[in-house]
């Protein structure tokens, strides 16, 4: 079982990213669980979302404390040391930044803010950061996640779907292994 914690700020889509990743895994026949931090809605405050993916049914309902992967979708949060508490020894970190911070983990970086501004015109980094995660870990196939983008954003029109898929694909190409 792979356990993931996504750090972002309230309103940025950390929870949506977690749900989309879980749905992509379920599309592939895997089992998945995704849940937000059950706090009050706090726009702009640091929030977390959690994902479990496994090839077997998932029974636990406890919070994730020792993740395999940590994703930080907001660049102002990457220096918070507590984000990486409990991360496993060979854990992976995926950061929204253009400069490595060398935390001693298997580190991947992507300037997701720039990509989202270029493609979507707004700094909505959750889908680009899932592109980086999928490139770094191969946890699901990119095509599965693209399917989920299409169903999630179907109500927002073809152009929005197209732009988000473009942002997702660019992120897969541009993410760097430190």
């Amino acid at each position: 079982m792979i356990e993931i914690i996504i750090h972002g700020r309230g309103g940025e889509g950390a929870k949506t990213a977690a749900f989309m990743l879980a749905e992509a895994a379920i599309l592939e026949g895997l089992y998945a669980q995704a849940f937000p931090e059950y706090g009050p809605e706090r726009s702009g405050a640091p929030v977390r979302a959690f994902v479990r993916i496994s090839d077997k049914p998932i029974y636990t309902h406890s919070p994730i404390t020792n993740p395999d992967i940590v994703v930080v979708i907001n660049p102002t949060l990457i220096d918070r040391k507590e984000n990486y508490d409990g991360l496993k020894d060979k854990g992976v970190v995926i950061l929204n930044t253009d400069k490595p911070i060398n935390l001693g983990f298997d580190e991947w970086i992507l300037d997701a803010t720039r990509i989202s501004l270029d493609t979507l015109g707004r700094p909505i980094t959750n889908i680009p950061m899932m592109g980086a995660l999928i490139r770094a870990t191969s946890i699901v196939k990119p095509e599965s996640f693209e399917e989920v983008i299409k169903t999630h954003l179907a109500g927002k029109g073809e152009e929005t779907v197209h732009k988000n898929i473009e942002a997702f694909k660019r992120s897969i190409q541009e993410v760097k292994h430190v």
């Binding site: 977690a18 749900f19 879980a22 749905e23 379920i26 026949g29 089992y31 998945a32 669980q33 995704a34 849940f35 937000p36 059950y38 049914p57 998932i58 029974y59 636990t60 309902h61 406890s62 919070p63 404390t65």
Partner: protein, 390 residues
Amino acid sequence: MKQKRIGLTGAHAAALAMKQINPDVVAAYPITPQTPIMERFAEYVANGKVDTELIRVESEHSAMSACIGSSAAGARTMTATSANGLALMTEIVYIAPSYRLPIVMNLVNRALSGPINIHCDHSDAMLVRDSGWVMLFSENAQEVYDNNFIALRTAEDSRVLLPVMINQDGFITSHSLETLEVGEDKEMHEFVGEYNPRYSLLDTDNPHTLGPLDLYDYYFEHKRQQAEAMMHADRVIREYMKQYSELVNRPIDVVEPYRLDDAEFVYVAMNSTAGTLRVVVDMLRDKGVRAGLLKIRLYRPFPWRDVKSLLGDKHKIVVLDRALSPGATGGALYQDVRSSLYGLSTPIVAGYVYGLGGREFTEEQGLRIYEELRDLDDNEPFQRFMGVRE
């Protein structure tokens, strides 16, 4: 039957089941403490996916009152609520079973205030424990979905005619996406079938009286009949669980044992904690401890014969309650399990209250319970706490 595996939150799983049931009437109060169940169901109504008359009322008290009116008129009726919403409707919650109305309600279990809290525990369900509703609990989104179909058939069966409540853990289940298998709308609706009410106030050719003053002359007899209907529910719900289980090809029963056969140390729990305890049992088994779990899925009527036959020969049993019964001899589930085993000489039955107001329950806590109790040798009804700072 063809099924597909999808990801849904517990709340959306309940809404999907309601859509497939396509009830005649749903009455609900549309703001806090309502949950995404009603939000999603209202979308189905707005998009024409169901024919349901959705009545938006001015309070939870009115929600259950409207449900009672529509069910008495012979309409298939459902609703959903949570926490203090249930508390406000409690006066009317007691009316539904006394009129023998087969209403089905999804309850998202959240703490009753105060202090003010919106997170998971079972104090809301335990508030109405003795109201006369059949009560099902759900480990995950799959069980929420499945329980809805089983609940409706049981409620409407003429041997029962009682309302049924389907519980799921607030946030932990209601707001978490999980993997579940769902059937096609048509086939799932076929399982519940069309509703032909045995009594309807609109059936003027067969008039009947409902809800008159019922004093010391007949009140007791009517309450006795409610008790009898609850006993029938114990048998009838097993029939529908079996029938549904064959339809979906998943084992479903009123209780679910896990690694219980040779177990010496047994956890008993309801709702999402049962899932976490499976993992705890596996961890203890890996260390050579003969641990097991009994999940209670049907809470009212309480399946005491199953508990007695499955746990009667065990060495040590620990019952986990997610609601506080101050001053009682332990939590409500603890009392039920302990009295089911009364008179049997062997088991030590210990109780813990845990997870109040959304305090998380972890595998580590499950293991600590074993450590705390491994050497316990008295059988006093002492209320223990797990996960609290003191």
